[in-house]
């Protein structure tokens, strides 16, 4: 059985605008992929630790030495929009 998902909800969480046709197609495709992926649930794993990384490393620290940071002009070179030395974006807060 294909898995049913709330496509509007997932698209909102993912911050991806979808056209109506995309929603229909993705609902069907994701349902089919998840049906197969859900097979991971068939394996009994109650006593198995999860693996996040195959070759885990812990407490990897670099020497705490100051280094030059990216110059402002280089950091802003690819900006879609800028104002002075800052990235410019549309408004981020509701206005009363």
């Amino acid at each position: 059985m294909p898995v049913e998902i709330d496509i509007e909800h997932v698209a909102r969480l993912a911050r991806v605008a979808l056209a109506e046709g995309e929603k229909t197609q993705l609902t069907a495709q994701l349902g089919q992929i998840l049906e197969h992926a859900a097979r991971v649930g068939e394996v009994a794993v109650a006593d198995v630790e999860p693996t996040a990384s195959a070759i885990p490393r812990v407490n990897v620290l670099r020497p705490d030495e100051p280094e030059p940071s990216l110059p402002v002009e280089e950091a802003l070179f690819n900006a879609p929009e800028r104002e002075g030395d800052r990235f410019k974006v549309p408004r981020i807060a509701e206005i009363e």
Binding site: L13, V16, A37, V40, A54, R57, E74
Partner: protein, 492 residues
Amino acid sequence: MTELCDRTASDLAPLLAGGEISAVQIAESCLARVDAVEERVRAFLTVTPDVARERAAALDEYRAIGAEQTPLAGIPLAVKDVFATQGIRTTAASKILDNYVPPFDATAWSRASGDGAVLMGKTNCDEFAMGSSNENSAFGPVHNPWNLDTVPGGSSGGSAAAVAAGEAIWALGSDTGGSVRQPAALCGVVGLKPTYGLISRYGLIAFASSLDTVGMFTRSVRDAGVLLGSLAGRDPRDATSLDAPRRDYTTSIEEGVAGLRVGVVADAFGEGVQPAVAGRVRAAVDTLERLGASIGEVSLPHAAYALSAYYLIAPSEASSNLARYDGVRYGFRAPGSTDSVEMMTATRGQGFGPEVKRRVMLGTYALSAGYYEAYYGQAQKVRTLVIRDYDEAFANYDLLVSPTSPTTAFRLGEKVDDPFAMYLNDVFTIPANLAGVPALSLPCGLDDEGLPVGVQLTAKVLDEPTLLRAGHALENALGFDPTSPVAREAVS
């Protein structure tokens, strides 16, 4: 007469050192090949002839004054367009990074460049390295130099095709679930995915960070060892990079396979594997036995679940990694929005292609409240079981063998409408990424239509020397000619 552009780096290096040829001649040979075939192959998103000529000329000058040079010096290298190259457009084959020019170099590229590599250009690939056919590139597909109507594999299809066509001597790729090995198999070249963390991921545009591995395409196993030697080793900029020293990976390459214990993976010749693929891989196993390896059969009982686990873990990590493409600091921004959330949502809706949306949505779902444990959590536990399978297998065997891909190159367009069928291409390559172990694909013959078949060798963590030594012995015994029809026609 073989053109310079169709030779291996290991063949060219002594000719360069002896002054018989120049780096400029090699670069011009590759550039002439690009001119001759690129319109049909479309391996590159950006070709860098000026950079290549300037670098090659400088290297010839250094050599003339007696400066010592590495085995990479003067050898043309193609770089997958997921590696940041300072001052050179880097797109990940995505519309969302169409105009991105990185202010820094990826470590893998900067090490190769520091050793004298000559950059030919940035190669086409599936968008954000997500795909198995290169058809997910926002800039159009790559065509396989063995048959231009077929796919080169993916996601590093451009790098594989560039090497197969003689447009570069070797190339960098990235392998998250088979993205170096599968296109190597389909394009008849050698593809190496080293141990996870052996080569720094710094500057590699992230797809799934716990699986992403820098790898390479070459025309010989020895070349793969040479290139690995330049790129491997700890990088303070990648906390997951291993403490392995930079070393020469070719020192034991001539030692042969006598006494090696080789396990043939159960299901290697099972359902879904084309008869021609099974036949060539079986013949490669027989060759290993004739060369003195002992052959057995090995079971990886959880391999059947590896594909399912991968298609939860990789999209989950991708949905997190790709959150950075929000239209704020770099890349594409959708015009016309009046608030930032609307702008980000529209930017991602317009900037990402279908496969990237599919995976971001899949990962977002698998990580969302109420589903996390059943999907992502369970997949991580299956990952543990896959690793245990390898541990048990390597208790009895030095190497494992399987096909690299269940099929040879398929027709362009054949699988684009069925994402799940496309995912099945990676069934033999994915387990190595989940376990972090190194694996090598090398060509082992052609099918009835003249398309290459790849055999995959897998070794335990950091046992690249055994992998390369067995690959080299097998390659010599099989005598496969990696010159593709497109390369052959360009010469005649």
